[in-house]
Amino acid sequence: MSSLDIRNLEIHVEGKPIVKDFTLNVPKGEVHALMGPNGSGKSTLAKALAGHEDYQIVAGEASLNGQNILKMEVDEIARAGLFMAFQYPSEIPGVSIANFIRAALTARLADNEELDAARYYRRLYEKMDLLKIDRKFTARSVNEGFSGGEKKRCEILQMAMLQPHFAIMDETDSGLDIDALKIVSHGVNTMRGPDLGILLITHYQRLLDYIVPDKVHVMWDGRIVRSGGKELALELEEKGYDWVKEEVAVV
């Protein structure tokens, strides 16, 4: 089964249920948008799937290409092919972008394999050029002193270098001006294809003009309350989240 499959997931933070009975299947090759107002639990879902210890998964299942990721360590989940583009990426002083990505790639090699440095730099520069990141950034500490937009671009650079099976992109559009949004979207679109599934988390429809999703899901208070095609995003934009809220109240 080539998909990111989440079933009846319940996630607690500090003992409080934040994500409740959450079910979603993203087949490989598709882009699904997950929309919802602030505080609805989108980042909680994303970080829990990426193994963050502050988020307790108390019920449900989650698998990546049929492999149960709930039993895996954080680094194992990543090596199994799940990439998380964080809403708020950490700053890592003293660790250069080049060394960081190199370590991440090396971790994916067998013990007797070695990364070809020349090829590595060629690929790195190619992806940096694509995302219009200055090549001098290779020597800069990861995210340290970066603007919001630079951090987001750096996340997408890592995604491009690590070539995951699935990517969860958490509010990659926030903090981006329109030019940066176009560059990042272009970068993501060039990665799209049958070998990559994407869960695109956002609460603005703006991003979806550039990265057109196959499906749109609306999250409210920890659950998916509505799913549909890309038109759903436009409908949301027009009517606002209160519309969903009213519908939920009716149900």
Binding site: V74, D75, I92, P93, N99, A103, A104, L162
Partner: protein, 459 residues
């Protein structure tokens, strides 16, 4: 090494502990053609040593430090070196192969020297072993030798150094001369019980630019030794001096490194100290901003493991206006190791427009390691910018998570963060060869592979 020579050496040494006046008399006699001023100076220092008390747990300048292991009776000045000791010392001394000049000392005796180029020497540069410089350049050297000692609690050991030092490197750079490649001095300890007193004296005349690296090592891993070194830097008007000291004595060594920097008008000095070795090391740094507009950075990185103790005492004295000083001491502690950082910024009344910073950051990699911090300020001028701060913490959990979330293994992620912590100091080493050696030494201390080299940005 034959049995006979071992026996001979042992018996020759066993007689005279460095604390005995017999040892001091023998030392004076061993100095060849010593000028009277030196004998007088040494005699005065010996008297001071003899009269000063040993530090006790109650001494304020030794707060938090271990004082139980400071007895010096078991150490001797070493007599002749064996051919194999000379060979070992020379073999150890190839860390930096691009240099302007090199000296190798084994138990304070010069065993190898690479001269500075003739063009530098003809233009007035002096790169000489101190023992020789005392005779040949006495009138210049006397004006500086032992004139500025740190005086931060180790006065007794400082005086012993003054009484018993016999060699080291002397570097004088004449007005306006700029030398790019570093001068490198290796100081090696050989044999059980040997005591060494390496001395480094750098005088950069007005507008000169120079770089010196001191490397302190032992030829054997298990010899019990005592090292009491002093490095003094005098930067003349507008001079630029960069100094690096790598302390890698073996883990049985008790060491003192008592250093000072004096910066004249508009001088720019940067020092980097790296502490890896010694079971106990006391590192004192007194930086004096003596001329207006001068700027001094003192960086330090210590990586104690096991039950090593690194005891750091610093003083930044601002005597002149419009100067900047910055002290950044970083410690990464493993196992049951300990560090002490006690620093003071002193701004005299006349030193207006002072910028002075003092930072101590401790990274605890094990719950039973102990980092002590005593930052301090004493400000008599009213127009100053000063800050001091100390932080102690463990590896950041969110940073670690971020690395793990990229598929990096926990061990490698921790290692990247630790080396990331070092980077703020390492980036000032200005020498790729040295950096690589340090990476591998520290990697060994942590039982990890060193990080791959720094990226080259070829745009």
């Amino acid at each position: 090494m034959s049995n006979a020579s071992t026996l001979e050496r042992v018996s020759a040494k066993a007689a005279k502990s460095i604390t005995s006046s017999e040892a001091f008399q023998n030392h004076l006699e061993s100095l060849e053609n010593a000028p009277k001023w030196l004998i007088d100076l040494k005699t005065e220092q010996w008297e001071q040593f003899s009269s000063l008390p040993m530090p006790t747990p109650k001494s304020e300048a030794w707060r938090f430090a271990r004082t139980g292991n400071l007895s010096l009776d078991k150490y001797q000045l070493s007599s002749d070196l064996t051919p194999s000791e000379i060979e070992d010392a020379q073999k150890n001394s190839h860390l930096i192969e691009s240099y302007s000049g090199k000296m190798v000392f084994a138990n304070d005796q010069l065993v190898e020297k690479k001269e500075a180029t003739a063009s530098l020497s003809q233009a007035g540069l002096i790169w000489a072993p101190l023992a020789k410089a005392i005779n040949e350049h006495g009138s210049l050297l006397r004006k500086f030798l032992l004139t500025f000692t740190p005086d931060l609690g180790s006065e007794k050991f400082q005086a012993l150094h003054g009484a018993l030092f016999s060699n080291g490197s002397f570097l004088y750079v004449p007005v306006g001369m700029e030398v790019t490649l570093p001068f490198v001095a290796y100081h090696e300890i050989c044999g059980h019980g040997a005591a060494v007193f390496p001395h480094t004296l750098i005088i950069a005349d007005a507008g000169a630019k120079v770089h010196l690296v001191d490397i302190f090592q032992s030829t054997g891993a298990n010899t019990k030794n005592f090292a009491c070194g002093m490095a003094s830097i005098f930067a003349g008007a507008g001079a630029q001096v960069s100094y690096q000291a790598i302390q890698e004595w073996n883990l049985e060594t008790l060491s003192f490194h008592l250093n000072s920097v004096s910066a004249e008008r508009d001088a720019d000095v940067q020092t980097v100290t790296v502490n890896l070795g010694s079971h106990q090391t006391r590192s004192e740094q007194h930086t004096c901003l003596s001329g207006p507009g001068s700027n001094v950075d003192n960086f330090s990185l210590s990586v104690p493991t096991g039950n090593q103790e690194v005891d750091q005492r610093t003083l930044q004295t601002h005597k002149a206006p419009s100067c900047r000083s910055n002290m950044l001491y970083k410690n990464a502690l493993m196992d049951d190791s300990r560090t002490i950082f006690s620093g003071l910024i002193k701004v005299e009344e006349s030193a207006q427009q002072t910028d002075a910073y003092q930072t101590n950051r401790n990274l605890l990699l094990n719950g039973s390691a102990e980092a002590n911090s005593l930052p301090g300020l004493e400000i008599l001028a009213n127009d100053v910018k000063c800050s001091h701060g100390a932080t102690t913490g463990e590896l950041d959990k969110e940073q670690l998570y971020y690395l793990l979330a990229r598929g990096i293994t926990r061990k490698k992620a921790e290692e990247l963060l630790v080396f990331g912590f070092f980077e703020e100091v390492f980036s000032h080493l200005e020498n790729d060869e040295l950096r690589e050696h340090l990476n591998s030494w520290i990697g060994k201390k942590f039982h990890v592979d060193p990080p791959t080299g720094n990226p080259v940005t070829n745009s």
